[in-house]
């Protein structure tokens, strides 16, 4: 990075002279000049805080937020010894795999549905945009009200349809509230996923299916042998991006249960937020952030390796 800065200064000096004779040398630095604004923004707002996180995670932090020297793995061992931490990790895994996996399966169906002509197709497509466009926090708050024990219409509708005999506390017991929040996660993840898959479906030439029909292939074998392999790229893209988004997701759990009762429905993201800004344990929060950082890194490396292996 320093090298680049030096080069940039040089290039500024060079461009001030008439640049006919030194054109070639200045050409070498020009690309970095074009990258500079973007680099500065990223380094200041993203890379530097990553460095800060690592530094805080190994420091003793006073209540007022001052660094009070190196304490080694202290923050990490505090986090790892917290009896709720394994549960938080398990929740994060269930949350991420559950939301991404089920959304992808449902979206495969929805995308192939929307890939067919029927009256009102445009309207349904437009409706599919809404949960994607609306702020996650607003959609979650609406669901919180809909699922309210006394005042929510969800219990009302299920009672009227005789699906349940008495109202259910959807957001109290973690064994109900966590799956319910996964459901909301799926609701907001489906639009993006479906649109990506739909664009993949539309790129598949129709004559592939026709010639398969001539060969006597049924719907299922057409799906397995033509559709799925050709959807590999959109599916990879949606799965990777969704995994990152869903892992990092905050508003749904924050607004619906706040991770309660006692961390039972926390994922690593809400857990770290509460450590940092409610318990004021910045050191430990930084340690959790570093752990999340490493988990995401491992995931990305896994993904790149798998993607590269498939490529060959």
């Amino acid at each position: 990075m320093n090298l680049e800065k030096i080069e940039t200064k040089k290039s500024l000096a060079i461009t001030k002279q008439k640049r006919v004779p030194k054109q070639r040398k200045s050409q070498l630095v020009v690309p970095y000049l074009w990258l500079l604004p973007s680099l500065i923004l990223i380094v200041v707002v993203i890379i530097f805080p990553i460095y800060e996180l690592f530094s805080i995670s190994f420091s003793k932090i006073s209540l007022s937020g001052l660094k009070k020297g190196f304490i080694g793995w202290g923050n990490f061992s505090n986090v790892l010894n917290d009896p709720t931490f394994p549960l938080v990790l398990k929740n994060t895994l269930v949350w991420t795999v559950g939301v991404v996996g089920i959304s992808t399966l449902l979206s495969l169906g929805i995308a192939s549905l929307l890939n067919q002509e029927f009256p009102g197709r445009r309207l349904v497509r437009s409706a599919l945009i809404i949960p994607w466009a609306v702020s996650l926090i607003i959609t979650s708050v609406i669901w919180k009200y809909i699922l309210d024990y006394n005042y929510g219409v969800f219990n009302l509708i299920l009672m009227k349809l005789h699906i349940i005999d008495e109202n259910i506390y959807w957001l109290a017991d973690p064994s109900i509230s966590f799956p319910v929040m996964i459901g909301v996660g799926i609701f907001v993840t489906i639009p993006f996923t479906s649109f990506v898959i739909l664009s993949g479906l539309q790129a598949i030439p129709a004559d592939l299916y026709e010639s398969a029909s001539v060969d006597g292939a049924n719907r299922w074998s057409k799906f397995v042998h033509i559709t799925l392999p050709l959807l590999r790229q959109p599916l990879t893209i949606s799965t990777v991006l969704n995994t990152i988004y869903v892992f990092n997701s905050f508003p749904i759990i924050w607004s619906m249960t706040k991770g309660d009762p006692v961390n039972q429905t926390d994922t690593i993201i809400t857990y770290l937020y509460k450590l940092a800004f409610m318990s004021q344990k910045m050191g430990e929060a930084a340690a959790v952030s570093v752990i999340s950082f490493l988990l995401l890194l491992v995931f990305s490396i896994l993904y790149v390796t798998i993607a590269l292996r498939r490529e060959q």
Binding site: P37, L41, S112, P119, A133, V134, V141, I142, L156, M282
Partner: protein, 277 residues
């Protein structure tokens, strides 16, 4: 498009309309609730349609909370972040699409890494930095954060668009005496307009909808954006749902319209990053 059987012809639309109902259900409830009276949102059993349509809720919200401030703050954050994102991303995307240089791969990986994180994972580090800059409780801290976290997306989509524009057009402009920057402004940018519009709208919406950073950095009521502002109606003992949802509607309508406008371009933009290289 696949040919469909008779059974499929009937069942498919039915499934699609069912999907439609599920998709709009929460938002219909939101609108209906925003038109109910204070008493009715807490009636047992709950009602679906308002017994009495209280349109004045939409007037009340402007007086109960500093809604015009929320709206203005959201506009500044979304608009500011969009402008800053473009200022930084356009030259970078151009360099990525058109220039050869050492470290190109490095910049690409750097961008990819930034895409892995949400601001929340970095919030502890970011919080201290924003404090040092004196940008706590200011919309400019949010502008900066949103611009940075949308940088990766913007560079991907723009460089994707730039590289589809024939190189010859640019060379012709250089021959006519344009500098690189002039050629970018006069040739590339107009031709890449769909890409730029997509980027603008997408970044604008992302910043408009952002919640976690705003929740953490902003504490003064008058400085809050809409997403955090709706929490003003969450009291100690009860929630004024009719106002929460009336305010939410103000926050939702502009972005849903914007999103519908770019529906066509959205996917090619979003997947461009993954398709390239």
């Amino acid at each position: 498009m696949q040919k469909t059987g008779k059974f499929q012809k009937i069942i498919n639309p039915v499934l699609a309309y069912l999907l439609f109902v599920v998709l709009i259900f929460p938002y219909v409830i939101m609108i209906l609730t925003s038109l109910k009276s204070k008493e009715e949102v807490y009636s047992i059993p709950p009602t679906i349609l308002p017994q009495q349509w209280v349109f004045t809720n939409f007037l009340d919200i402007w007086e109960k909370v500093p809604l015009s401030d929320y709206l203005l703050n959201t506009l500044i954050v979304a608009g500011g972040a969009t402008v800053l994102t473009l200022i930084c991303a356009i030259p970078a995307a151009y360099a990525m699409a058109r220039m050869k240089f050492a470290g190109k791969k490095f910049y690409m990986y750097l961008i990819m890494i930034t895409q892995m994180f949400s601001p929340i994972v970095l919030l502890v580090g970011l919080f201290r930095e924003i404090q040092w800059f004196g940008l706590m409780d200011s919309v400019w801290g949010l502008v900066l954060t949103n611009a940075a976290f949308n940088q990766a997306f913007a560079v991907w989509i723009l460089s994707g668009y730039f590289s589809t524009i024939p190189y010859e057009l640019e060379q012709a402009a250089w021959l006519d005496g344009c500098t690189k920057a002039q050629a970018l402004r006069k040739i590339i940018l107009p031709l890449a307009l769909p890409g730029i519009i997509t980027t603008v709208i997408f970044v604008f919406i992302a910043a408009w909808n952002e919640f976690a950073v705003a929740l953490t950095f902003i504490s003064t009521e008058e400085m809050k954006p809409l997403t955090v502002g709706i929490y003003a109606f969450f009291g100690m003992y009860d929630v004024q749902w009719q106002y929460v949802f009336a305010t939410s509607l103000v926050a939702i309508v502009p972005v849903v319209i914007l999103f519908l406008l770019i529906e066509k371009y959205l996917i090619s933009g979003l997947t461009a990053g993954g398709v390239k290289d």
